[in-house]
């Protein structure tokens, strides 16, 4: 119910011929993601250094933890000095900060945004809610483990973690990237069916393609 927009429909062309439109197939690219080989040796190291020093964060406040991210930009914490800056669109961002609990409804948007980011991409998950559901662990609508739905590079524990903890988390992420372990995007592509299965298990009204390019 309420999903007419993904049902097949027939429109009339200017010449008067009926055209069948299948929204999911016609509007969206349905290619599956592929795991990308990393370059070899020093080039990849250099690239990883660049990636780690230029963390463009997707500005998407997913939960209550979003409020903890704002002070990061203030003179007191000033994340800019670490090469962290906010981008308004997933296309240009490389780090996705999941800031707090995720309801099923939010998860759907998160998955979409995550998939719209380009490889390599990194996920930083904030707070206990993303780890095990936190205080909402037995809620009918809040996920318990984020890593069942997308690869998570860094968990930052706390309810909520303070900005200092966040900075420490970002620092950890930098190390991970520099060591070449930030391959979440590839992991996602390789285990795509599993992740997709988990996602589809809880997102009942699935109105998007399997992979949002």
């Amino acid at each position: 119910m309420g999903k007419e927009y993904i049902e097949k429909r027939t429109v009339i062309s200017p010449e008067g011929n009926p055209i069948e439109v299948d929204p999911l197939k016609d509007y969206f690219c349905d290619a599956a993601p592929k795991s990308c080989k990393s370059a070899s040796g020093i080039i990849e190291k250099f690239a990883n250094w660049a990636r780690s020093e230029s963390l463009w964060v997707l500005g998407f406040g997913t939960g209550c933890g979003a409020i903890e991210m704002r002070p990061l930009m203030t003179p007191r914490f000033d994340a800019y000095r670490f090469g962290i800056q906010w981008r308004p669109t997933p296309r240009q961002a490389s780090v996705f900060v999941i800031s707090g609990y995720l309801s099923v409804k939010t998860l759907k948007r998160v998955v979409r945004s995550y998939e719209q980011m380009q490889n390599p991409k990194f996920v930083v998950a904030l707070g206990s809610c993303t780890i095990n559901g936190g205080m909402y662990w037995d809620s009918y609508n809040t996920i318990n483990r984020l890593d069942h739905y997308m690869p998570v590079d860094v968990y930052i524990a706390g309810c909520m973690p303070r900005p200092e903890a966040l900075l420490a988390g970002f620092d950890k992420l930098k190390h991970i990237i520099r060591e070449g372990r930030g391959e979440g995007a590839n992991k996602y592509a390789e285990n795509f069916d599993w992740y997709k299965g988990n996602q589809k298990k809880i997102i009942k009204d699935w109105d998007m393609p399997d992979y949002n390019w």
């Binding site: 200017p14 055209i19 945004s113 109105d207």
Partner: protein, 1043 residues
């Protein structure tokens, strides 16, 4: 030679003989009448031929064996022969037309008709005043008799009013006659003319009574309500007789008696005529009943003829030519129109769309309307030309203004009517019955308009040197209209190509440039015509007619030739424009603005001809009187065609609603006619000063700059793609006007080169957008979108088109802008120059909007399977693109020749070329190097990007970042409607349609005035009589009361 008395004898004899016929012999009676009228026509035509071909002398016919004043005498001269021919032919064909109706009435009908024609014949021939009275009465009794056969109450009431009025009028005539007799002792007109000079005091009053009653017979405004009612209610065949026959005869009486009047009375007469002409055409605006409309028009035309008579002192020996050419046009056209009305039998002009069911009648209808208004090649065109020219040479500008205003008003309702007939929906209207005997007279008269037109032009000293071959070729396409479109298209292209080949060696200077635009442009746009299927009836004659007119402009040696070509072009383009689905109102306003502009030009040419020995175009360079006015009139005339601000309101609709390949013809090519006119004018006349210190061209420069800004601004706010392009044409033409106004080498170089490139990019854009509209069946840009995926070739065309339009380097549009900047600097018109630059900025707004809203953004569901535009529409586009790219890389291939053409006129301040490197006083520019450098950088960057960006995943239209959501419909995700909302908020106040509103106000005011005036015709016969009496008193006071 058969003696003219046999006309009378035959008609009278047959009329009496018919009285003997019984009821059962109606066909027999009819046949006899037709034969009699045919014989009468033969006699008068024979005389006419005798006069014309063999120079016979006029012949008097004496009756009863005495000479006047003791008997009645008749005269058969050249004029009489002509007029009796007209009357008898009208009678002959009228009877054929009325065959069924008269048969129903019986022999009495024939008798009455014979009586009427007889009466009119005698009226024309007689030289005896009392005899004139008698036969006037006979013909009006006969007319009333014909009317009374109708069974319709309205008709009978109208007939009664007619009787009352003519009774009173002839009573007054009789009084006048008897007093004239009392004072002179004779009734013979020739004798009156002899004694006229020694008239006593009372004699003048007597003459006044005679003349005023003849004037009243001609139905002057406002004492003509009775005539209108008859026109409206009588059977169309009878109305045709009255309009063609009675009015013609009455006119001749006026002509005959004219020398009786004093010069003052002639002026009064002219005034009455003009008031009638303007008044009845003004009131005609509100008419919806076709017959009444024709009545108004008829009265108006007769008013014009009366004016001409009244002004005969000024017109001198040309009076006859002018009056006759207009009269014959009116005679043929009005009879034809009444007859058509009788076949159509619709009492609302909006229902005339039904006429489309019969192609022949529709064509004839158009022919008659154009004849009536005075378009070439019909006789009245030459009449009006001579009229205005002669009035100008006598400094009678007031009359010129009046006559032209009246003609324009007439054009309003006639063209509206034509538009209704051509365009309104006729789906649910039943076809009407067409009988051969009804069509035959109309067809004969229709053909006669051409024959007479040719004849008239052949006796006109200047008209006969015009080259009519292109027009004839265009008209010949009417005959092969049944052929399939590809045959006609090929023929048309061949004809154009051959003519260009033939013309090419003779072209020089600006003629060569504009000749190339007109002819090559025509051929290129005609190629798109192959995309059409079927027959495409009615396209080729008019397309070729338009091109014939354009060619004529270049070929024109005389101002008459120029004006002729201008009008031919207008006719052709009118029919091209009205072909569009919703273009009826736009075609009307196009026509009216064109007419208005043409009349200004006519006036300008007329003033320019004063004191000249001939009408050569070169006379414009040494205009003797009012050169400033000539300049302004001609300039404004041309500016109507180039759609400058204030005169632009016809353009957007006309160009936008036209068909795919018509839009480029009218927008990219036709507008250049105005530019060519301006070029010719500026070269011939140079600058003019108003009041000694304000330069007209300076003002035109400002006008051009403001037009450029406003045209572009309005383009930016359009939702309709073709309308956007149309407004863009307004803007670019403003540019060109500005460039020409600079009156310097560079200014002209930029204007002429923009003229050429505008032809190319606007054809390109109109064809490309037209091709898209062809497929997606809408012109609203926001209904399209994402079509780049479906129509990549069209997209590329539009891309090139807008880059050239916006004047972005490295493509050739920039050359115009660059030259232009230098020209502005040299001329020191900085503020105007800044405006022009600003308008160029606004061009970015609408060009981006055009390409984005149509080709980029979200593809709509309905358009998922649209095909690329038809092949034959793409072909000319890519031809143009090829040339554009060539001009971009090698700019001097275009600019050098134009520079050479300009140099003789503006020798200093040109460009210095070293290869492709151009240097002006202020700056420099090397198109080729820029082209190479930009391409080199572009390729390098592209390669760099491709190296870095391999294997990109192709995605579909909804794979966009949508704030973590997804788009639901393409419609809601396509930002296109009101694209510049914020801009509108900021400066939208500039583009409120104030000018359109002003023109609408003018139109409304004219209609309201017409409506107000016509209320005097309250339908009461008695009021009409009061009008007549009051008219007499007022005219008497004006003539004799000294005011």
């Amino acid at each position: 030679m058969v003696a003219p008395i046999y006309i009378i004898a035959t008609l009278l004899g047959v009329a009496f003989a018919l009285g003997l016929f019984g009821k059962k012999m109606n066909s027999m009676a009819g046949l006899l009448s037709v034969v009699a009228l045919g014989f009468a026509s033969f006699i008068s035509l024979e005389w006419l031929a005798g006069f014309w071909l063999y120079d016979r002398a006029a012949e008097y016919i004496y009756t009863a064996g005495f000479k006047p004043p003791f008997s009645i005498n008749l005269l058969m001269g050249k004029d009489e022969a002509l007029f009796t021919s007209l009357i008898n032919i009208a009678g002959f064909f009228g009877t054929v037309y009325l065959w069924d109706k008269l048969k129903k009435i019986g022999s009495n009908g024939y008798v009455t008709l014979m009586g009427m024609i007889l009466g009119l014949n005698v009226i024309i021939m007689t030289r005896d005043l009392f005899n004139l009275f008698v036969f006037l009465e006979i013909s009006s009794i006969a007319t009333a008799g014909l009317i009374i056969f109708s069974q319709n109450l309205k008709t009978i009431a109208a007939g009664f009013k007619y009787m009352l009025a003519t009774g009173i009028i002839s009573g007054i005539l009789l009084l006048g006659i008897i007093f004239m007799y009392y004072f002179t002792g004779t009734l013979n007109i020739d004798d009156f003319l002899a004694v006229h000079s020694l008239a006593v005091k009372g004699f003048g009053v007597a003459v006044f009574f005679v003349l005023i009653s003849i004037v009243l017979e001609l139905k002057p405004f406002p004492a003509n309500g009775w005539g209108l009612d008859v026109y409206e209610s009588a059977d169309s065949g009878i109305a045709a007789m009255i309009s063609a026959g009675t009015a013609t005869a009455s006119f001749f009486v006026m002509y005959k008696l004219l020398p009786l009047g004093t010069p003052q009375f002639h002026m009064v007469l002219a005034g009455i005529g003009l008031a009638t002409f303007i008044g009845s055409n003004l009131m005609g605006l509100k008419q919806t009943n076709p017959n009444r409309l024709l009545g108004y028009s008829s009265i108006g035309q007769v008013g014009l003829l009366v004016t001409i008579l009244g002004l005969s002192e000024f017109l001198g020996e040309r009076t006859t030519f002018i009056a006759y050419s207009i009269l014959i046009s009116h005679f043929l056209a009005k009879a034809g129109l009444f007859w058509i009305s009788g076949i159509v039998k619709r009492s609302e002009i909006k229902e005339w769309a039904v006429l489309r069911n019969n192609r022949l009648l529709l064509i004839l209808f158009g022919v008659f309307i154009f004849t009536l208004i005075g378009f070439p090649p019909f006789p009245s065109f030459f009449g009006k030309w001579d009229l205005v020219l002669n009035m100008a040479s006598n400094n009678q500008y007031f009359w010129i203004v009046g006559i032209l205003i009246g003609s324009l008003l007439e054009g309003v309702y006639l063209f509206r009517w034509l538009g209704y007939a051509l365009k309104l929906d006729n789906a649910e209207m039943p076809a009407f019955e067409v009988k051969w005997n009804k069509v035959l007279p109309i067809a004969v008269f229709g053909a006669a308009t051409f024959v007479v037109g040719y004849f008239v032009s052949s006796i006109h000293p200047y008209a006969k040197i015009i080259n009519y071959i292109p027009l004839a070729v265009a008209l010949a396409f009417v005959l092969i209209d049944f052929l399939p479109v590809y045959v006609k298209n090929t023929l048309a292209i061949l004809a154009m190509a051959y003519y260009y080949y033939y013309l090419y060696p003779t072209l020089s200077s600006f003629g060569a440039v504009f000749g190339a635009i007109f002819m090559v442009g025509g051929i290129v746009t005609l190629i798109a015509g192959y995309a059409f299927k079927g027959q495409r009836r009615g396209f080729y004659p008019f397309a070729l007619m338009m091109f014939a007119g354009l060619i004529g402009l270049i070929e024109a040696k005389t101002t008459l030739g120029f004006f002729y070509a201008w009008e031919v072009m207008t006719v052709g383009s009118y029919f091209l424009i009205i072909r569009g689905k919703k273009s009826m109102p736009h075609a009307l306003s196009y026509m009216l603005f064109s007419m208005g502009g043409a009349y200004l030009m006519l006036a300008g040419f007329a003033i320019a001809s004063v004191g000249q020995f001939n009408l050569d175009m070169s006379t414009l360079s040494h205009v003797l009187v009012h050169p400033t006015w000539v300049f302004i009139l001609l300039a404004v005339g041309f500016l109507t065609k180039t759609a400058s601000l204030g005169l632009h309101i016809w353009l957007p609709g006309a160009h936008a609603e036209a068909e795919t390949d018509v839009s480029p013809m009218v927008s990219a090519i036709l507008l250049k006619a105005g530019v060519f006119g301006l070029v010719t004018l500026f070269l011939a006349m140079g600058d003019q000063l108003i009041g000694g210190d304000v330069s007209v061209i300076y003002l035109l420069g400002w006008l051009g700059a403001i037009t450029a800004v406003m045209g572009n601004l309005m383009a930016a706010f359009q939702e309709d793609a073709k309308r956007l392009l149309a407004y863009s044409s307004v803007g670019v033409l403003g540019y060109i006007l500005f460039g020409l106004s600079l009156m310097s080498h560079l200014g002209w170089l930029s204007a002429v080169s923009i003229s050429v490139t505008h032809f190319m990019f606007k054809s390109l854009l109109f064809l490309a957008i037209g091709g898209v509209v062809w497929r997606v069946k809408t012109k609203e840009m926001y209904r399209m979108g994402g079509l780049i995926k479906r129509m990549p070739f069209s997209f590329f065309s539009v891309l090139i088109g807008i880059i050239v339009l916006a004047g972005l380097p490295p493509l050739s549009g920039f050359s115009g802008k660059w030259i232009f900047y230098n020209a502005v600097m040299a001329k020191e018109w900085y503020l105007q120059g800044a405006l022009i630059f600003f308008s160029g900025m606004i061009a970015f707004l609408y060009t981006f909007r055009l390409i984005h809203s149509v080709f980029l953004g979200q593809l709509k569901d309905e358009h998922r399977e649209v095909k690329e535009a038809p092949f034959w529409i793409l072909v000319p586009q890519y031809m143009i693109i090829g040339v554009l790219l060539y001009f971009s890389a090698i700019p001097n291939s275009l600019l050098k020749p134009i520079g050479k053409i300009i140099s003789p006129y503006f020798p200093t301040g040109g460009l210095e070329w070293t290869g492709q490197h151009a240097v002006s006083t202020y700056g420099y520019w090397n198109g080729l190097v820029i082209f190479y450098i930009v391409i080199a950088i572009f390729v390098t960057v592209l390669v760099w990007l491709i190296i870095n960006n391999r294997k990109a995943q192709k995605v579909k239209q909804f794979n966009i970042v949508f704030a973590a959501e997804r788009p639901f419909k393409p419609e809601t995700s396509h930002y296109a409607y009101n694209f510049y909302a914020h801009y509108r908020k900021a400066i939208g106040i500039l583009v409120e349609p104030k000018i359109t509103g002003w023109w609408e106000g003018v139109a409304e005011w004219a209609h309201a005035m017409g409506d107000k005036f016509r209320k005097i015709y309250n339908g009461n016969g008695q009021s009409y009589l009061i009008h007549i009496m009051a008219f007499i008193v007022i005219i008497y006071l004006i003539s004799f009361g000294g005011f």
